[in-house]
């Protein structure tokens, strides 16, 4: 039976090697350069935000980190050790949990079955292993309650939850399973303002529990309040890497939309910001 090992993952001495790091990683799909020379890391208790517009290479980047794709050049280091993940399962076993934007949950399955899919708790009678359903249902209920969702019926299919609630199930699941690194793929992109706030609070909570969080988003307004470090991708390349305090929100927005290109768009963006003063 797997239980979260919070003490082990909590706060190694600062200055240690990053929990998860890529150095000069590149990925090609045939002739297409999806990523080129990307170097990013995340330490325990930090949130690294990876920002980029559509097509910047964010998805490819996540898939390398989570073991779906293998990188073609460069290094992938887990706690300082050069690694190649054979599969998403291998990444998961090393404590790297990924919450994918669309592919996080199976709609027709119940909430507790989704919560434990791939890591089911079992008991055994002799050689026979069986699911510990009570434990699974209770744990799921408790963990979701921490996220502010009260599930009355654990057999409810996930498909009947809202998008934000489904994200919550997936995030709560990753945190519960003692992930050291939590990779979140656009967790707020489909959510309303209020639900985005809830998800961001949970990101901060995971950080405070000592996880390294890689938060992928195209929304600097969501990234800025929770991020410790900001990495901007554009067309598969690294545009910049700043710590919090080295860059302002406005500068971040500028960088995201391609630096110099922004001058021409400035007017329009001013208007967007004026119309929708997003405060997550």
């Amino acid at each position: 039976m797997s239980t979260p090992d919070q003490t082990a993952s909590a706060r190694p001495a600062s200055g240690d090697a990053p929990l998860l790091e890529v150095r000069n990683v590149s990925k090609y799909f045939g002739n297409v350069v999806a990523l080129k020379d990307i170097s990013v890391g995340v330490k325990a208790g930090e949130v690294t935000c990876v920002l980029g517009d559509n097509g910047a290479g964010k998805s490819t980047f996540i898939k390398i980190l989570s073991g779906v794709h293998r990188h073609d050049d460069g290094q992938l280091l887990v706690e300082g050790k050069d690694t190649h993940f054979a599969s998403p399962r291998a990444a998961k076993e090393r404590g790297i949990a990924t919450v994918f934007q669309d592919l996080a949950t199976v709609p027709l399955m119940s909430i507790w079955r989704n919560f434990f899919l791939g890591s089911e708790p079992t008991r055994s009678i002799g050689p026979f292993k069986y699911l510990d359903v009570k434990h699974a249902q209770r744990t799921m209920h408790d963990e979701l309650r921490k996220m502010g969702i009260d599930v009355r019926d654990p057999d409810q299919p996930v498909g009947t939850l809202s998008g934000g609630e489904r994200q919550a199930v997936a995030i709560a699941r990753a945190v519960y399973f003692g992930a050291k690194v939590l990779i979140l793929d656009e967790p707020t992109s489909a959510l309303g303002v209020k639900q985005s706030g809830v998800v961001l609070r949970y990101v901060a909570q995971a950080r405070d529990r000592g996880l390294g969080v890689i938060f992928i988003t195209h929304n600097p307004h969501h990234a800025y309040p929770v991020g410790d470090r900001f990495v901007v991708l554009n067309r598969g390349r690294l545009m910049g890497d700043w710590r919090k305090g080295e860059i302002s929100r406005d500068e971040l927005i500028k960088m995201m939309s391609g630096g110099a290109e922004l001058e021409a768009l400035e007017h329009e963006i001013e208007r967007v910001l004026h119309d929708a003063p997003a405060s997550p």
Binding site: R89, L117, G159
Partner: protein
């Protein structure tokens, strides 16, 4: 018929609960998650429609001929139901896992022929012949699954090819070896009596229930337990519901699916062996077309064609309905050709009901 039964029975639990239960406490958490009514909860069970339909069909044929629900009558239709139900249960598992096996029907014929030829032509002990046949069936299942997983072609096409290949081999080999279109005299082979007692015989003396009924119950129970209470069961729902999501959380999708194909072939072969032992012979055309009866039983039992939803008990109930219809139509003194019409109608009704249930389960947001 099925739909009507569902609507009328749903009244009872809904009204009973509102009378007996105190009103639910004011929710402390998320008010948007509505309370689930007992009716919705019952409707969420995949096999509920099949259960109600089975009761209706049983009562209907009982009114035509009261023998239908006497022990002798039950022995009759459970016999038919079991040889459809054993494969239907594993076909249901495969469908929940998101795949089809069109070679399931002809596989029962292939297995009977192979065992028969090994026992009669090569004069093997029947038990050895059974073992070799099951090994071969597992191999064919593996090839089915491996091809589907590596080519990413729909299993519909891949197993359709297997279907025709096996059908061709069945006819060709049988004719070449025996100069007939059947393998017979299996009962003269050594080990036949003991094997037949386990796989082909009957029990409960005056009524003569078929031993295959016990196999059917056992396989349904095991399949239900696997689905509901094991990791593999959870993985089967996962790979059928959304293979990518399952892969992303670390479920070994290919292994689960190939395992399902192998189980399907194995259990279908076992069914073929039971039939061959009992008749002491097998026709070369045995099993052709039955794959659709297995699929109909699974669908009537609540399996969704796109995978991820269904139940083993449901498939067993679906097979019960088909068995009852086949025998009931005879008992009623009607022309047995009408059973195909019955199969078609019950399939159509089941698909419509399943579609409705699945939409409710997935929610309107999907």
């Amino acid at each position: 018929m099925q739909k009507h039964a569902m609507a009328s029975s749903s009244q009872a639990p809904a009204s009973a609960s509102s009378a007996l239960e105190p009103p639910p406490p004011v929710p402390a958490g998320d008010e948007r998650l509505a309370n689930i009514s007992p009716m919705a909860r019952a409707l969420r069970r995949p096999e509920i429609g099949a259960l109600l339909a089975a009761v209706v069909v049983a009562i209907f044929f009982w009114t035509q001929n009261s023998l239908f629900l006497k022990l002798d009558g039950i022995a009759n239709w459970t016999d038919v139901a079991s040889t459809i139900g054993i494969p239907a249960v594993v076909v249901a598992l495969l469908m929940i896992g998101g795949e089809f096996d069109l070679s399931a029907g002809v596989m029962t014929g292939s297995a009977g022929l192979m065992m028969g030829l090994l026992a009669t032509e090569l004069e093997m002990n029947v038990w050895v012949a059974i073992l070799l046949t099951l090994l071969a069936a597992g191999g064919i299942g593996f090839v089915n699954g491996y091809m589907v997983m590596t080519t990413k072609l729909p299993s519909f096409i891949v197993t359709l090819a297997t279907f025709f290949i096996l059908q061709g081999v069945n006819l060709g080999v049988t004719k070449a070896v025996t100069n007939q279109v059947a393998v017979s005299n299996i009962d003269s082979a050594p080990g036949y009596d003991s094997a037949n007692r386990i796989f082909g015989g009957s029990f409960w003396a005056p009524h003569d229930f078929r031993i295959s009924v016990l196999w059917w119950i056992a396989i349904t129970a095991i399949a239900t337990w696997v689905l509901a209470r094991t990791r593999v069961g959870n993985w089967i729902f996962g790979v059928g519901g959304d293979a990518n999501a399952a892969r992303n959380v670390g479920v070994p999708v290919a292994r689960v699916k190939i395992g399902l194909f192998m189980t399907t072939s194995l259990v279908c072969a076992l069914t073929g062996i039971m039939i061959a032992l009992r008749l002491a012979s097998t026709q070369a055309g045995q099993g052709v077309g039955q794959e659709f009866q297995f699929i109909i039983a699974a669908v009537v039992g609540g399996c969704v064609l796109t995978g991820g939803f269904g139940s083993a008990i449901g498939a067993a109930l679906g097979a019960t309905i088909i068995g009852m219809a086949f025998i009931g139509i005879q008992f009623s003194g009607w022309n047995t050709d009408w059973r195909f019409l019955f199969l078609g109608v019950i399939l159509l009704v089941a698909v419509l009901v399943n579609n409705y249930i699945r939409k409710r389960a997935e929610g309107a947001r999907r």
